[in-house]
Symmetry: none
Subunit: 198 residues, 4 copies
DNA sequence: TATGAATGAGGATTCATTCAT
DNA sequence: AATGAATGAATCCTCATTCAT
């Protein structure tokens, strides 16, 4: 498991801020060193490369995503509850720190470099697969409807989660993401629960 | 209505290709002129600025999105069919020309500049609002379940559409988007139809 | 004698305006063609080169200066009156058309190219020598004091004339150049007249 | 008070040389970096901008002009001597370093930009006003004739000084500026002294 | 650990000029 | 006589990175 020094964490954090606020094309060593309040060469004490920074960002985001997944899976046996947790935990984190989230910055990093993209995609698969697992288990236990495949249900859940976050960001954070998220989870629950209330 | 010359269209198209293939940070005037096979200064005969190019890209994508929406709305009275059309048309276009789609390149352009972002967000609202309208009408005619608000249903539909496209791209186009899309629409239909088969 | 077509005169004139208003570095073919309201290549119908334009400007200014000198010399026999005329005529012209004057734009053209500089210097010598002549004749006729050499007197007269114009321009033309000029001539007259009023 | 580093001084100095030898349009970052013998980007370690360089040049020239004025005013109580000093000091400096003089390069910088022009004009007013003061005091003490206003006398003195320098430059420095200057001062002295020798 | 100074490569853009029409 | 499209060379400036200190 990779360990980041305090300075490295600081640099990663400011990188995420820069990306979130003004796009990757503004993630320059100059801007970064200004944000961290050290000189440009000093950055190279902590990372060998700009690519090293980018890779570390993804490593960091992956760790953070794994942490969320762990928490969700540990939350209880019910698939529907886990799905709810999946939403809640992502929203909680993103609200706590708007930038430090997979779903926030990863797109921006894609296409920068094949190695980097691969790592990001791996990270995205991580949560998609975890969610898919949850859904499948929910179907096996009879909690979740089985007339729609787990794959399709997963796409719906992941899509809604991502779209909500995207919308929140594009609206300049001017609605209560956690509240809206909860409504959305309820809607999804209604739609995927086995023998829904009709 | 903005009119683009042939050269302008060519430049916009190659810009979309460049963004799609290697990210905006590779959309340089040099790369662009190489792609269009003219000299760098020649670009400036057709656009005043790089920003002018970016804005024109968004204008172009907006026009293209409007075209899709028009087609979808003209396809018939059924909301469920229109939603199906919404998926199909987007997929058809994206498969025909992988890059010329709102949902493909717009994120990359965000955060580049406030004016540009605003234009992109306006474009995104366009399709979201159109979809929301369709859903509401479907609820009024009784086609679509009413126990979940149109807003939530719209998020689910838009989210799934976008996530499917994202996945397709991240997989390097290695599944049949239109086929998967059709499956997904059916799943969604099942979930949102009034008095579903249970 | 060089003859300029109407279009050539127009181009020369607009060139002078551009130089006067925003410096030579803004005398570009683009700006020029915009000012003349024709296309850029059209400029090359009338001048072979940018250098050709610059040379023509100097030719034009030289002609204009010669015209002034001719008028001054024809104005009467008195050296003091001719000196007064030298001031008056320059000011009159410069006020009528702020830019079409040797003393206005020539410095800006210097150093651009040896051939050009030479031509400008020749033009400047023209008026300086003419003035020197006038002074010498005034000294011979006893009108002008002889205890100071014609050369020194000429420097004083030319210097004052030029400095006044420079000041006027730098003040954004916010004083009455002709009125101030007249005062200045009177002062000079007092200083150079033979047996002044003491 | 602005402080320039050694490198900054070097860059300013070479800028003045470039302007003096080949005009502002040849004051390019490339030429400048070649003259200073560093790379182009290195220039930007020392100045934020080209405009920053230009402004610094004017700051430098202003400082140098102030230095001269201080020296002149400190040279003794006689207005006529101070005027003589005004000439001598300017000539001495200009001969020592042909380029480092207000009167040499400032015109070239005018019209480049309003902020710059303003700064140059302020600098020019500085010496004109100082000279005007000297003349007025000379009139009050009875040293200088009072039948001509200080303003007109100042124009004559400044004009002669400037014109002499201009002529020297245009002649490619092929006369002894200090010697000619001294003659000119004597002539001026004769013309402005109270109760001249007639 | 940190920095001031430097740089090669490349960024967007403008220049004077040409050519086919 | 005029233009739309094009270009090679040069413009200012920023990039990631290195090195001596």
């Amino acid at each position: 498991m990779t360990r980041f020094s305090d300075r490295q964490k600081e640099i990663i954090n400011e990188s995420l801020n820069l990306i979130a606020n003004s796009g990757i094309q503004n993630l320059t060593i100059k801007n970064l060193s200004k944000a961290v309040n050290i000189s440009e060469p000093a950055i190279y004490r902590h990372f060998t490369d700009k690519m090293d920074i980018l890779m570390s960002i993804v490593t960091y985001l992956t760790m953070s995503e794994k942490w969320i997944l762990k928490k969700v899976l540990a939350s209880g046996p019910s698939a529907l509850d886990q799905i709810k947790g999946f939403f809640i935990e992502h929203f909680r984190q993103i609200v706590a720190d708007r930038n430090s989230t997979v779903l926030r910055c990863s797109e921006a990093l894609l296409q920068h470099d094949p190695r980097l993209s691969q790592k990001i995609i791996a990270m995205m698969h991580l949560s998609r697969d975890a969610l898919n697992n949850i859904v499948e288990q929910g179907q096996q236990t009879g909690e979740i409807r089985t007339d729609i495949s787990a794959k399709q249900l997963t796409i719906i859940i992941m899509g809604a989660l991502r779209f909500l976050i995207t919308s929140w960001q594009q609206s300049a954070y001017d609605f209560d993401l956690e509240a809206e998220g909860e409504k959305q989870v309820k809607a999804i629950r209604k739609m995927i629960i086995n023998g829904g209330n009709r």
